[in-house]
Symmetry: C2
Subunit: 188 residues, 2 copies
DNA sequence: TGTACATCAGTGAACGCGCGTTCACTGATGTAC
DNA sequence: TGTACATCAGTGAACGCGCGTTCACTGATGTAC
């Protein structure tokens, strides 16, 4: 039966949020349209009133996941200042909690692999998110524009790599990875 | 019809090699048993004379992919010495060629994401490979044992993250990632 | 404000497809004599 | 070395399953009067 415009918008939001979480937990191939709809409290048939294809949902969900991280960073920036916010970000990133909860974590660490094998449009969404994140991280650093950006990119690559490898490894190797990439030592 | 023991061993080798390549190109979910067998010049039905399950093949193929990298590194070590070998490794890793050819590249950069969602036994194979690689890379460095290992782990994380992000991004962002992670600058 | 009707969000069965795995079968290989 | 037979690597049809997508249907919502 038809629902009100407001209810439909809420459904839409729930679909995107469910997708953003399930995608990061299970990956693109293991996230089914039916699974997302079920998580959103709906049945699979109604999906196509909201999106034309699964791919369209993926783009929206990945965009949303990046936006969530940016909002988190912005809030920290305002609360503790840029330097402290970046330290917080790093410490939270390289943590057992982050490794164990991909659904709430960084979309780059959860999805880079899958998106590397996906459509060009999804890569554009992903690349734009990464670029915005790196720009934000570079803000909290010292030095010339280009050097800051490159440094932020190197750091971000390390964070993403460390968490991905930790997730893909036995607990002992995961620990090695995390403890090696904590903040104390900054040189590569 | 039955084939000779020798032919069977050759089939086995071809199956594992095909799997190791296709896995890195397409990921675990998009690599089918039939696809691997076809690539090996066989039909899918015969697969189960070689492996009990697809998972068993995955473990063998991932192991093989790591062994290939180790053999490459060992050869370079002998030819050019440890320092030069590590420089070569880094330069080859952060290259457009590596980004464009996942099938011949680092298994960590190609599969970390997928393996993070797989069985504990596959994670053990992966983690062991990563550990051996890091140990090899630490060999070419200076300083105390623990510091060398941590530094090698940080570098490896950066390399893996950079290539994964480059593969998942639009060309412009991919370039930013690669150029930022080249050898010239070593600090994070 | 009230009524009559068109719209359309959501449902659940159905579609064609590719997957991992099983199985009866084939015929060259390996072995026992 | 030659023969007779058991073995088993490889084939291709078939299985049950979950997938993305389609569709006829339902009935509350939104709108035109």
């Amino acid at each position: 039966m038809r629902v009100s415009r407001e209810e439909m918008e809420q459904s839409h939001t729930r679909i995107v949020e469910s997708a953003a979480r399930l995608l990061r937990e299970r990956g693109i191939e293991n996230t089914s349209v039916a699974g997302v709809m079920n998580e959103a409290g709906l049945t699979h048939g109604g999906f196509y009133r909201h999106f034309n294809t699964k791919d369209e949902l993926l783009e929206t969900a990945v965009e949303q996941a990046f936006a969530d991280v940016e909002r988190w960073l912005d809030a920290r920036f305002e609360k503790s200042g840029r330097g402290a916010a970046i330290l917080d970000y790093h410490a939270n990133y390289i943590s057992k909690r982050h490794v164990d909860q991909p659904g709430k974590g960084c979309p780059a660490a959860a999805l880079a692999c899958d998106i590397g094998r996906s459509s060009a449009s999804l890569k554009t969404v992903f690349g734009a998110g990464v670029k915005r994140l790196i720009a934000k991280l570079a803000c909290g650093m010292r030095g010339a524009e280009e050097r800051r950006k490159a440094k932020a990119a190197r750091r971000f690559a390390m964070l993403v790599g460390a968490v991905m490898i930790a997730r893909a490894s036995d607990p002992e190797t995961a620990d090695l990875m995390l403890s090696s990439c904590k903040m104390e030592e900054n040189d590569l």
